[in-house]
Amino acid sequence: MANHSSKKSKTDDSNNGPSLFSKALIPEYKWQDKDEFLDVIYWMRQILGLLLGIVWGIIPMKGFIGLALFLLVNVAIVYIYYNSFQKVDEEEYGGTSEILKEGLMTSFSSFLVAWIILYSALHSE
């Protein structure tokens, strides 16, 4: 799972130049700049939101279970990434909730857009 999520950050960090994206792939990397790590989480989330939205739209997932499942998967992957793969001390970033909240709303809206568009394009009459 941790590997899985690191792949995500690989694609997404290409936005920020190669340095950040290679850092994101190194397990237990020592982050000098807190913002860099949070940026990795942010972009990872955006890609994840978009991907999940596309998958949910193709399956097609329906109802509130889709929303709940998205939140669960999204939070779980981020949690596993920073807790098991990067092993950062969450207290340095203001607690678990700060990391888990990073970019969540934006990711959620990207997810909804992807889900709604694909769902209505593929599965509605």
Partner: protein, 181 residues
């Protein structure tokens, strides 16, 4: 339906760039903004560091308080600078939005894969005929697109407010009366 959706995504990309562009012209490129922003960022980082090393020293605490006060004033100034352009952009966008609203009036642009909760239905089913609440109106999709696209564009262009600064603004020490937010 798909064409409408793609058009809406395109519209929100355009408006996001337009909004950022206007803000850049009116705010980001001004000397005052740059100076204030650098100041706020520097101070909030400094404060954060200082708070980590706890001291019982009275003089130190006083000093810390004074710095917090200064930071608060600076961030208030910063948001005042931003405020003006916010208003201008707000007006421009309301006009644009009402135009798009009339173009998409009564048109179902997408089918939602879920039934929204009642207070969202007011937006997601705005100006649509019928009782099928999985029908999605223009405005709902537009808002969602804007929420995701605008923030990502800000982030990509490096225009989003820094974390340290925004954390200081909403920090536990700032009194609720603060105008700065």
């Amino acid at each position: 339906m798909l064409a409408d959706c793609i058009l809406i995504v395109f519209i929100s990309i355009c408006t996001a760039f337009l909004g950022e562009g206007l803000t850049w012209v009116m705010v980001y490129r001004t000397e005052k903004y740059k100076k204030l922003k650098a100041e706020v960022e520097k101070q909030s980082k400094k404060l954060e560091k200082q708070r980590e090393t706890e001291t019982n020293d009275r003089v130190q605490k006083k000093k810390l308080e004074r710095q917090e006060e200064k930071l608060k004033n600076n961030s208030r100034d910063l948001s005042l600078v931003k405020m003006k352009s916010m208003f201008a952009i707000g007006f421009a966008f309301t006009a644009l939005l009402s135009m798009f609203n009339s173009i998409f009036d009564g048109r179902v642009v997408a089918n939602l894969p879920f039934v929204p909760i009642s207070f969202i239905q007011g937006i997601s089913h705005r100006n649509l005929p019928g009782e099928d609440y999985t029908h999605c109106s223009f405005i709902f999709l537009y808002i969602l697109c804007t929420m995701s696209i605008r923030q990502n564009i800000q982030k990509l262009l490096g225009l989003a407010p820094s974390r340290a600064a925004s954390k200081q603004g909403t920090g536990f020490f700032s009194p609720p009366t603060q105008l700065g937010r």
